[in-house]
């Protein structure tokens, strides 16, 4: 009996959400707010099973809500909302994990600390601060944010007002220049 009631509740909830989504497509702000408030906890619970870490979860949650909004034209009125909703949420979560993995790989590959190079070199080495000061401003900023402040690429790029790709390039050039300066071009 309880099971049947639960099924009825879910069916009713699904119908209500589908109706709110159709109204959202027509530009109804009240329906939009009601729908996002209604699906918010379900989306968060869904993402919690896929994303580790509160900070990442918050970022992905934002991306999912914005992604759902941006893909609203692709929802076909009259169909259940949940398969559409969770397909998009799953896709964004997978994308995020993939981006994070490749970023971690890149950071791991480029993690050769200039200090280590300096320690193993037999020649007298210039001070890191001095070497940093000789870099162009954008490269210095990239190195400082990523290696000294410990920011992620996304955060550093957002703070510098540039793309992740450009930030990678700046950091790569900074590492190369520092390696040349500290390691004597070896």
């Amino acid at each position: 009996m309880k099971h049947a009631e639960g099924t009825d509740d879910r069916a009713e909830q699904s119908l209500r959400r589908a109706d709110l989504m159709a109204r959202l497509q027509r530009g109804d702000a009240e329906a939009c707010r009601a729908l996002l408030n209604d699906i918010g906890p379900s989306v968060r619970a869904f993402l919690r099973r896929r994303i580790a870490g509160a900070e990442d979860l918050d970022d992905v949650y934002q991306e999912v809500l914005l992604g759902l909004y941006e893909a609203r034209h692709s929802y076909q009125p009259g169909r259940p909302l949940e398969p559409w909703l969770f397909a998009i949420a799953r896709n964004i979560a997978i994308d995020y994990s993939r981006r994070r993995w490749s970023r971690a790989r890149w950071e791991e590959l480029s993690a050769e600390p200039p200090e280590a190079i300096a320690e193993t070199s037999p020649e007298p080495q210039p001070d890191l601060q001095e070497a940093l000061a000789s870099l162009p401003k954008v490269q210095r900023e990239a190195f400082t944010m990523l290696k000294l402040d410990g920011l992620s690429l996304d955060h550093a790029a957002a703070r510098a007002g540039t793309s992740v790709g450009a930030m990678k390039l700046r950091a790569h050039r900074a590492y190369k220049a520092l390696r040349d300066l500290i390691g004597g071009g070896k």
Binding site: Y61, E70, W84
Partner: protein, 230 residues
């Protein structure tokens, strides 16, 4: 779109909702999969009608042969099913039916199997082989262009989440259709010619379409946001 950094998840949620509501514009839901498929078939029919008007001289006699008719039916059916799957793949949450996918593959393979009913001519002179083949490879590409563009456009206007699969299905639909049309246009039934100048370019172009799909068709949300924690 920039989202500030409220402290609690609830406040953060409210901030996102406020931004979305502020940006809210009405949108027209996309046409249903069936209707878009019907529109795509109209494009195909126009191409097919043009090709039939410029087709092989023996077409009327060939149309009395059941194996030839079956071949056209198989490739045409597989093209329609592949296009249907491509359009479904662009709607989040719509699963690709295993039965429909299996039927598409079965029809395409059965059509290819029927191509082998004519014996191979081993004494084909190379220059004749190339001279008669190149226009067929070109035709296979040409007749797939309008169906490919139409289908890719219809898919991209939705929200395809798996770009490579959508690209492969778009390529499959367009190339299978083009293949069927080329069987009407080209008077050569010899298998070596068909496999080299019809099947091989079609397979190559499906591969190209797969990569284009992963690169261009895939839905990527473009609204910018600042990370929740910085």
């Amino acid at each position: 779109m920039t989202v500030r950094h409220p402290i609690t998840p609830e406040q953060r949620h409210s901030a996102i909702v406020d931004h979305i509501v502020a940006d809210l514009r009405p949108v027209r839901p996309r046409l249903s999969v069936g209707l878009r498929l019907a529109l795509w078939l109209i494009v195909d029919l126009i191409v097919a009608a043009w090709v039939t008007a410029h087709s092989r001289a023996d077409l009327s006699s060939m149309l009395h042969r059941p194996d030839y008719l079956l071949e056209l039916l198989f490739f045409g059916g597989a093209a329609t099913l592949a296009a249907h799957l491509a359009l479904r793949s662009a709607v989040p949450g719509l699963a690709l039916s295993k039965g429909e996918t299996g039927l598409t593959l079965t029809l395409a393979l059965a059509g290819i199997w029927l191509l082998t009913r004519v014996p191979i001519k081993p004494d084909y002179p190379l220059d004749t082989f190339v001279r008669t083949g190149l226009p067929c490879a070109f035709g296979t590409t040409l007749f797939a262009t309008a169906p490919w563009i139409g289908l890719a456009w219809a898919v991209a206007r939705n929200a395809p989440l798996r770009g490579f699969i959508s690209g492969m299905l778009v390529g499959g639909g367009a190339m299978l259709f083009s293949f069927a049309v080329m069987r009407v246009e080209c008077p050569v039934d010899e298998p070596l010619h068909l496999f080299t100048w019809h099947v091989a370019p079609a397979v190559l172009l499906i591969m190209v379409s797969t990569f284009i799909g992963g690169w261009l068709l895939r839905f990527r949300p473009s609204l910018k946001l600042t990370p929740a924690h910085s």
